[in-house]
């Protein structure tokens, strides 16, 4: 296990490196001159040339990348011009809320998706299966930003059960209960699509596993159905489901952009949308890099869980 963990850890170095190259390239290949963009159209050629030199734009792409990467390593992500503060500070402030939101909905979609998928599989073609399959289909087809609006209309505006937006109540809030109360609707909305994906995959994987010969062997030993399903079928199915849960994290982190916008959640997603519309490139770059790095770490965790479940991997 330890050697596998170390090997897997070593493998994320090139991935992180690749991510940084892609982000750098996307930003470096932006059409137009960043110096001109910063200074505006009234800049004199001398000023532009000076700024280009300050920004390192007169050097080769490789040199620029090395300098940029060196700065990253020191935690220097540059300065957001629209907020007029270091990018790293802003990102650090907003990472927590995003991870909280994504984590909560990941928990929801894993638990609900697995449960729905298993029930669907063992009641194949029964009424439970039919209802769940229909719900899953609708869940998979729902635009989450739209669902968020509806939930706000119904549960916040009409029924007043939940707050309309934000992370804490403006007056008198601030405790964990208040946070959970604010978290409920966004987390549920964000979890809907991923729940559908996991439920569907769980159902088909369980059906596949239940047809395997070792399930017949388990039954031939006289084990009861609960043991057959839990100990033999579900465990084998999980080996295939866990990496997909890891990949779903990517969809959840991405989907958080919509949800944070709809619910005014103070996370990185909303920051990115604002940064893109104000063309605050360094802020976009910092946000994308940090979230992508988190995603890589989560996938690493999913791999390690899969390795724990399956003795055949990585030996």
């Amino acid at each position: 296990m330890l050697s596998y963990t170390l090997r897997r850890l070593a493998m994320i170095v090139p991935v992180l490196f690749g991510i940084s190259v892609i982000v750098f390239l996307i930003m470096a290949l932006i059409p137009g001159d960043p110096a001109l963009a910063i200074l505006g159209s009234f800049a004199t050629p001398d000023n532009v040339a000076k700024l280009r030199q300050d920004l390192g734009l007169d050097r080769s792409l490789v040199e620029q990348y090395v300098v940029w990467l060196g700065n990253l390593a020191h935690g220097d992500f540059g300065r957001s011009y629209s907020l007029n503060r270091p990018v790293i500070d802003e990102v650090r402030e907003r990472l927590g809320p995003t991870l909280l939101l994504a984590g909560a909905s990941l928990l929801l979609c894993t638990v609900l998706g697995l449960a729905a998928g298993v029930v669907s599989a063992i009641r194949q073609y029964g009424w439970q299966d039919k209802i769940l399959t229909l719900l899953v289909l609708i869940g998979l087809s729902t635009p989450s930003f739209w669902l968020g609006l509806i939930l706000v209309l119904v549960f916040s505006v009409q029924l007043k059960w939940f707050p309309v937006s934000g992370m804490y109540a403006i007056y008198g809030g601030g405790d964990t209960l208040d946070l959970l109360w604010h978290l409920a609707l966004p987390a549920i909305t964000l979890a809907v699509v991923a729940t559908g994906v996991i439920a569907r995959l769980t159902r088909s994987t369980m059906l596949e596993v239940l047809r395997q010969d070792f399930v017949r062997t388990a039954r031939a030993k006289g084990l009861d159905e609960r043991t057959v399903i839990r100990k033999h079928a579900l465990r084998n199915a999980l080996v295939n489901i866990v990496p997909i849960i890891g990949i779903q994290t990517g969809f959840v982190l991405g989907g958080a952009v919509y949800i944070e916008t709809v619910f005014q959640w103070p996370g990185i997603g909303r920051m990115l949308v604002t940064a893109i519309s104000t063309r605050d490139i360094l802020l976009v770059q910092g946000g994308v890099l940090v979230v992508a790095a988190c995603y890589v770490l989560i996938n690493l965790a999913a791999d390690l869980v899969q390795h724990m479940l399956d003795p055949r991997i990585g030996t």
Partner: protein, 635 residues
């Protein structure tokens, strides 16, 4: 089942198959309706979607002149929705096609050329996949600037990896197929093989991936527009309409909710059709193949089926008139029909037959391990020391399984759970039936492993199946069967997957164990040599029926059924190279289209008129022998 080859011969076309899937038809209707309206937008009598009419701003539903109301600038919602749908659909389809084309190309090249080409391309794809899906699209839009075309571009790029990976995976599998090698040997070059052999087999995968990601891409482009990063005013797609109306959701909810509803409907339609296409193209799902087998074979006697005669109480296992049928695609496959057998304490009975003869189905029917669906026991009686097994409650059946009657299966890798140690898999059946503690059961498991001659059992007990050789895995299978000291072991081709030297060791082991314990053995095989080596009596099956039974020595020396005789003539015997191998002409009948009368009549050299007119009974021709042939008594 050999029967499937003939069944698939009459596979219907794609439309009848898709039509059988009602949900897919619903999806197709939704999708066709939306697409038709969107396509017809220019010729429909609609007001200009961008014409502002401030007096009518935020008009509610069903207002005069504005059936779906009007937005914050008084623009007609119905017209805007229809034109917006057009844009959303077009962008989604173009993005999907572009991603499919580029992704598939990358996948094919990587899978076909392999080596460093594959490594380089797939590492690049992995890098794209290392980003959270939407975030990469956001980064691209951030670089290119907001706009519908840029959103399309971004969504396309982030979907390329899905196509590249699934197409590469399938291509890798296809390249290793024998028919691709065969094409090389017939002188075809790389290009001819790619276009002629591989691409036609890849198309279903590409279509499946396309139909399952199209809905997704429409959702994501709408999402980017919702965030204000896609369609820019005055151009509008469904997403941007929703985004612009978001602030007004409290005053005029319909302006925001209707575009979302249309997206939902559109994507549901696409997903339903996509699922239908996938089910149709994925051969594993054909003819209800993915149905979950139940815990025990269903027992549902056919109306009017004769009451079977009771098996003799003296037999350890008695089967009479057993009929196990498979119901596939409305057809009835008589996999085992009217099968009878007696197995006495301590005896070894071999069941011999070719594939499709019903020997395994018979063996699995005894403890009702034939999968339902599609299998079903439709008649007969199975008694174990006088106890009726077909009428048992599930709990009582489970008490018997692995306890008094145990199975050994063919493929020793597939029949063991890959995630549990072999010790745990042996111990679990001991705990189930003897109520021992975990540690006691483990200690017994080590004893059993020693008894089946696994060296270093105390350490091997915590090995996983993949860490053992094929022969050792089968020894584990035998140890599992012996765990509760059963009085009957049913072995279904236990040595077929093994090399001949390993087979000899396993047969030795089974012989010794039988001598030590006096366990009765029901041994299913296709190999007369193995029968001769191990069994006391033999039962020959053909096309679902028993055709001959008797002591091994008598049947092998003097076969009385023409099938047995001619089958023995087909077997090459070591040390007799000059023996003429006389093939039996023709093929066994498909068990869903059995002929009347004798099933072997069409291939038989002794056939007479009477063979085909009426059913042939299994006749006793001596004290211990029965034959299903009307000419068995003739010389």
């Amino acid at each position: 089942m050999s029967a499937t080859t003939s069944a698939s011969a009459a596979r219907p076309g794609w439309w009848p198959r898709l039509r059988r899937n009602h949900l897919a038809v619903v999806g197709l209707i939704i999708l066709a309706a939306i697409a038709l309206i969107a396509l017809a937008a220019p010729i429909l009598p609609l007001p200009d979607p961008n014409a502002t009419d401030l007096p009518a701003r935020l008009a509610p539903l069903l207002s005069p002149g504005h059936p779906l109301g009007a937005d914050q600038l008084g623009r007609d919602m119905l017209s805007r929705i229809i034109w917006g749908t057009r844009v959303s659909l077009a962008v989604g389809v173009v993005a999907a096609l572009a991603a499919a084309l580029i992704g598939s190309l990358i996948g094919i090249v990587a899978g076909f050329y392999g080596r460093w080409v594959d490594t380089a391309l797939m590492r690049a794809i992995d890098m794209l996949m290392a980003f959270p899906y939407l975030l990469l699209a956001l980064a691209i839009v951030a670089a290119l600037g907001p706009g519908l075309l840029n959103a399309l571009f971004a969504i396309s790029i982030v979907n390329i990896p899905f196509f590249a990976r699934s197409v590469r995976g399938v291509t890798l599998g296809l390249v290793r197929r024998d028919y691709v090698d065969a094409a090389r040997l017939t002188g075809q070059g790389d290009f001819a093989i790619l276009t002629g052999e591989i691409l036609p087999n890849l198309l279903p995968v590409i279509v499946i991936t396309l139909s399952t990601t199209l809905g997704w891409m429409i959702l994501e482009t709408a999402g980017l527009s919702f965030l204000g990063l896609g369609a820019q005013p005055p151009q509008a797609d469904l997403g941007s309409m929703l985004g612009e109306a978001r602030a007004l959701v409290l005053v005029a909810p319909h302006v925001a909710l209707i575009p979302g509803l249309v997206i939902l409907l559109l994507v549901i339609g696409i997903n339903l059709v996509g699922d239908g296409i996938r089910d149709m193209l994925d051969p594993r799902l054909g003819s209800g193949g993915l149905a979950r087998p139940g815990a025990a074979t269903a027992v549902a006697f056919d109306a009017g089926s004769p009451t079977p005669e009771p098996p003799p109480a003296a037999a350890a296992l008695g089967v009479r008139n057993l009929a196990t049928h498979f119901l596939l695609g409305g057809e009835r496959h008589k996999a085992a029909d009217n099968v009878g057998l007696d197995l006495h304490a301590g005896e070894c009975l071999g069941i011999v037959g070719e594939s499709g003869s019903g020997k395994s189905v018979t063996a699995l029917s005894i403890l009702r391990l034939v999968p339902t669906p599609p299998g079903r026991i439709v008649g007969g009686a199975i008694h174990h020391h006088g106890q009726d097994l077909l009428g048992l409650k599930p709990a009582d059946l489970r008490d018997l399984r692995g306890n008094r009657i145990a199975y050994i299966f063919q493929d020793p890798l597939g029949t063991l759970n890959p995630l549990l140690t072999v010790g745990e898999q042996i111990a679990e059946t001991i705990r189930r039936h003897q109520g021992k503690s975990r540690s006691e059961a483990m200690a017994l498991a080590v004893d059993l492993m020693e008894r089946v001659r696994i060296p270093d059992a105390a350490n091997r007990v915590s090995a996983y199946p993949h860490e053992l050789s094929g022969g050792q895995r089968q020894r584990i299978g035998i140890a599992m069967a012996l765990a509760n000291d059963p009085d009957i072991i049913i072995a279904d081709e236990p040595t077929t997957a093994l090399d001949v030297t390993i087979q000899a060791e396993i047969l030795d082991l089974l012989r010794d164990l039988r001598r030590e314990r006096g366990t009765a053995l029901l041994f299913i095989t296709h190999d007369f040599g193995v029968v001769a080596d191990l069994c006391d009596r033999v039962m020959v099956m053909y096309a679902g029926r028993v055709v001959e039974t008797g002591p091994v020595r008598d049947v092998l020396r003097d076969p009385r059924h023409p099938y047995t005789r001619r089958l023995l003539d087909c077997v090459p015997v070591l040390g007799q190279p000059k023996r003429a191998l006389n093939a039996i002409p023709g093929l066994p009948p498909a068990v869903n289209r059995l002929p009347q009368g004798c099933h072997f009549a069409d291939r038989c050299d002794r056939v007479i008129e009477r063979c085909r007119t009426s059913d042939v009974a299994l006749d006793p021709i001596g004290p211990y022998r029965t034959v299903r042939c009307i000419r068995a008594r003739e010389p």
